[in-house]
Assembly symmetry: D3
Homo-oligomer: 315 residues x 6
């Protein structure tokens, strides 16, 4: 894990697969060094192995581990975008935040506090879930640094429900809570890929009231990326957070997730969609809801690893 | 499993996932009550766990059980169509028909007789296979009630072969038998999704003779739903039966099936296709050939459950 | 699901596999009727699909569903013991208790309250987990009815830790909590099958202080059932609760569990061990920690279903 | 696939793994040549891929294919017995009998007729199932050549039920039918490994009436091979058929089967048990009920392949 | 396996599934006879079970075996092209070439020498890998017969790296080596489906220098087959070799491969793409990199079998 | 990963699962720190992810990664032996040796050279394969430090073959090569667990000539550990190397291996057997042949991790 210098900064480099085979060595995100000092970093890949706020199939706590493993196949240079993110930014595997699988509340505190030093040092956190509940404490940390941010959410579900079984904080509610807590910029929330059944037409009420924009899965299949870009026009220059729930992708491409929803995006579509976000001003991002126990040959984790890589190329 | 009343009818409601988690409770189709009295129903979801007429990989006898399990994720309201089928019709899980895995003949009798009381009471049966051989006894029961019906068949295979190993009744022959028995309306059979190898060009002879229309998988990929709608024009108003063999879908989206065929539809395409059938006059339907032993993380059963739900929304 | 009468009681009978195939019908424990009226029952099989107090691999929330499925293979008569439990006791599937996957505390309340009416009616509850944390609220309900009970615990782990991550209630602590709360009879706790690493020798302190007896896995392999029976002598006639954590069995026989421990019992050994408990005065029992996502061909659920059946034969 | 001569006979030799790797080449039983001329053989390994008489989980039709694959690992010399069966007998892969998955009756005829030329030529058939129903037509063919034979049955189930769903011929009835048809020698039937629940105590009536001897699984675990040998004393010198249902083995060792039963034999026990049968006068044998769709890493097929090899060493 | 004659040639026919079920019989490619005499063949399906030149996940050595198994489902007539290849050409399963898993060099020699007699007899070899390293020795054999050939490569990777860990011959280098050895016609190399990360922009240098043309995955998704056909114009009439690395397909459709790459082609796209190559003058072809240990329900092998069939239809 | 001091040495401590959950953090052996300076260590856990010398099913290159993952469940204190190895010795995860999957020869050099600095510093290496071929270069390094050592080999196979396909160095030959190279002490080689077929009786010749002692699997099942101890008497005090091929265990307990052999040891037996070696003077050890692609729920890696732990307790 050599660290080539450029100017005075040290850019952590992924282990070179032409020197050490991909299957060898201790597993980190994209075979990057494990670095925990925020001052050595511009971007931190941060595992958040928490899934106790899941309503259906648990297991996303093992997401970071399996995404680390599958990310070993990734080489550094992106020919589609002409970018090597590892020579542009100092990027490393920050390790996992400590979580408490027995307490949603304690975990939320740990996440917000765990990210604070990174954000204070100006590091962009790219979190790897874990279930989607982690979005809320991440946004709290982001807000403490950046104020209200725009949100681009790639997801099969709007995650704007009010509560489950009397509990306000779970993986179906973070966007509602974030809006209620004032963490998001007014009118700058876009959800792409929504589909599947709801409880009632009234499920849209909150979104309409709070001017959440969306492109459903059906609309995306029909109109594609231009429709997304049309709705993103107002986001330019605003600090933006990107959250990517892997269930935006179809279960054929991402079986390893907790609440799979048919008729989703293909892997080619999601890669294209993420690349199309180039130009937005991202201050943080995440990929969540990879549940490896339901995966097949690691394809969900592999896709998640590639999407993390594409996120890095957006910065 | 509360039963809200509307007028004098009691509409069975799915167990509410916001009250009881999806993974809890005895497993029924879409978490509906188990109701066996035809007079309490408008639409019956009926399991037909029979697969002894399979020519290749068996296992569809476990289809109803796994589709019940995966259907737990389905919420009641369809935002794409603006419909909640459970408040429109009295729908419940009728349970499974009793079958005889050791006798095709006995099973056919049981199926036809098992459906008769439902049809006599005006209930629309939505059957869940099982292999495709069950189409014939279902159509016999339908015919006894409705006379010759139109048939929309979504399938990789035409199922119009004459026999296998000297046997006339199996999952490769029900459409031919149904036509020979006069169960289908003349010129009102449309097959969508046909693809893969045949034995010879002559395999089309029967279809041509009997004016079966079709849209191949290749044609569907090239021309899409408009081509289907063009061929369906004459079906309007005619009582129609819909049979959906899950192998119309590509093995990536539906690996859990007995005779998988590559180059099939995606899950987004099949959902769109089913929705496009809105407006036809359906008197019954089925989803067949889900073989869970070959599934991956339940994605085939999950898709089948969603397609059952979409069928309910067509009524 | 006929209900043969004996005297004035109606004995629920399992669906007969010689009439309806095992793979047909809505899935219940041992194909028994689903009965929720305590007055119709002597013994209730109760699902408790809760796993949010798990420290490692989650998924036991799906235990009841899969054990129901695998229990379809069980016939009623036990030739090894000469017993048909279904003609001795009125036994049925009570369904699942409602749980809250987002709150350990709320779930504990629901469990204790959910069992109360059963216990009040004199019904013996046989619970199906779920993770081992459910033992505590079950014992609270048992205690409310029976006072302090003896405990026979078949388990790889003593579950007497004090806390995990500052939380007192989880699947590693129920036995300690139960003793602290006075739910167990003094000196009448026996743990069989303990093995694997601990944090330190001091981990035994609590057990020694509270006169918990144990037979380690190593001792069981060396000395067998006589050693267990020797330590059980004082239990005779005392109301006793039996808790069976499936990880007492080796991972080869029960891979589908959350904290597997090698060098465990074989399936033949655990069946023998359970049968050897005949003669104890059981007032309740459970089988916990079956996590189907890690199972192979359902063998863990199948074993759990058989152990539930053997428990029924002990009564 | 060279054929070394010994005297005038040509002894088919397995492909040598030191020359051609085990994973290379067209897959046959133990990498033996595929020979269909009875006159070139002393012993024929015969696939019987039929599973349509199964009462629960189907899939044994794929047994021969997977057992062929896993048998590639077997080397020719048995150090435990000091035997190389391939230099003692002319053994080859006869291929599969043609079966009809849609007709039990037609298949039975095909099996009996398919074995006739082998038996007429003095060849010992070793059949590879397929479900246990094939035992009956095999025994009919054996009887035509040898008259009533003794039967050693290694099995979790006695297979002496009278019928399922009104059908007399299925995988739960072959031993009863064989006795009724006079195919078995009076008082020379021994069943080893019986265990699990029955319908009622009366299930033993037929066995008692017809002097079937048995050693239950529990007895085998307690008393071992000597108990089997004690009951086999009268079999010496009598022409004997050996039928081995893989479910005699525990599901941990043989998950890939249709009606698994816990508390079975280990692989070490079944290998020992088969070897202990040396000295009996076998005129045929089978290994049945391997259902690969439920297998894990091929371990069931691997065990079956080893048991077939051990059978060859008994001759 | 009857052999109908046409003129004086004998055309090997696949076993008829209407006579012998697909799951019965010894497994060969498309149920064709196993023929090793080049003079009886026009086209030979040749297994090359070698994967020791793999850089990441091994297992393609089991590709031929599993593709044989899955090819059992293929019927002879291609309705999309109106072709039955088995009545046009004498096609059979040649078996596997002998390989040496411990030596890349020895294996390369064996492959080149193993194909020589086929090519000398005018047979077109269709090879089934095995990893992509086998392309080089195949092209050496092709070159010895045909001189420099054009190459159409369907692949996620260009395979033009120079070396891995100091070794020149592996599955990432065969195209570079082939060009260096003069095996390919100048300017007649087209690669379709390239995508994923590279080490650096300089990775394209070799391709640019040697006038390799390509259509990336992104370009293919955007422009489709016409873009491929545009670049193939100069290939017409030139002897051409087709190599198809299954990882050109997306992991959802082909999880069973060694270096999966997201955002690939669907099964419908690859089938269309292969069919679009009709009219080229093929002198050989291969399908490589199917690694069954990572497959799901055989879908990768099934797709590979279909692609082999489509290749046969191109000839 | 705190490092408590004892005297002047720093003893690396496993991450405490009561502080950080087992599923969190970058994966190392037993959650130990990753330390590469030999001077900080007494014992090094060293991954050797090489499997290119495998004769049958590859995949052991992923052994170290999966064993690291499964080792997360291990707590520090061994109650059966009353030992906490991590407070006795300075033990850490050394990481993986760099290997070359394309060259057996180069890899052997890398292994021997990679271990040299550890041995020079007096560190005991505990290697984690990888296939069994790595034993030879390990023994070369051991020999360079310690001279000829005794060898205890727990294995289904003797690994004393002379060559495969003309190659002298592979996973079936290391013991023969080690003896030929003089790396092992004369008459001090004991093999335990040998079983399964051989090529011929002559396969024992080499062992007999070189006074290799053995206890077959059959003998171990019959006579147990005392038989092993009897044959180990002469080993006391002699520097001894322990090599543990996971296939010594039965496939039910260790399906994830390359050349599985039925009738092996249970997990309880192998743990007991390893513990019984206490008192020998070990200078190094390994656990090899874990091939995760064939594993089920990680049970093979879990067992391997436990055996590594037990090895540490022997020191």
């Amino acid at each position: 894990m050599s660290k080539p210098r450029r100017g005075q900064k040290v850019f952590p480099a992924p282990t070179d697969a032409l020197v050490t085979p991909r299957f060898a060595g201790i597993s980190t995100f994209m075979r990057l060094p494990h670095i925990t000092d925020p001052n050595e970093l511009d971007v931190a890949l941060v595992g958040v192995p928490f899934d106790s706020a899941t309503s259906y199939r648990p297991g996303a706590r093992f997401g970071p581990r399996h995404i680390r493993d599958q990310s070993a196949i990734i080489r550094p240079y992106n020919p589609a975008l002409g970018v090597n993110p590892f020579t542009r930014h100092r990027i490393a595997d920050f390790g996992d935040l400590s979580v408490n699988p027995l307490s949603i509340e304690d975990t939320f505190t740990r996440i917000t506090e765990g990210l604070a030093p990174l954000l204070a040092a100006g590091v962009i956190p790219i979190c790897v879930g874990g279930d989607h509940s982690i979005l809320l404490p991440i946004l709290r940390a982001i807000h403490a640094r950046h104020g209200p941010v725009a949100l681009v959410q790639l997801d099969a579900h709007s995650d704007t429900w009010d509560q489950y079984w009397g509990v306000k904080y779970c993986h179906g509610t973070p966007v509602r809570r974030a809006i209620e807590e004032g963490l998001l910029a007014d009118g700058l929330v876009l959800q792409v890929g929504l589909r599947g059944q709801l409880y009632a037409e009234a499920d849209f009420d909150f979104s309409r009231e709070h001017k959440i924009a969306w492109v459903t899965g059906e609309e995306f299949h029909a109109k594609g990326i231009p429709e997304v870009q049309r709705k993103l026009r107002r986001f330019r220059n605003h600090p933006t957070y990107l959250t990517l729930d892997i269930d935006v992708v179809d279960p054929a491409f991402a079986p390893g997730t907790g609440t799979p929803q048919v008729a989703g995006l293909s892997s080619a579509q999601i890669v294209d969609l993420v690349r199309s976000l180039k130009g937005l001003h991202f201050v943080g991002a995440d990929v969540v809801e990879v549940a490896p126990a339901y995966d097949s040959a690691g394809i969900t984790s592999l896709l998640a690893a590639n999407l993390l890589y594409e996120l890095l190329c957006l910065l």
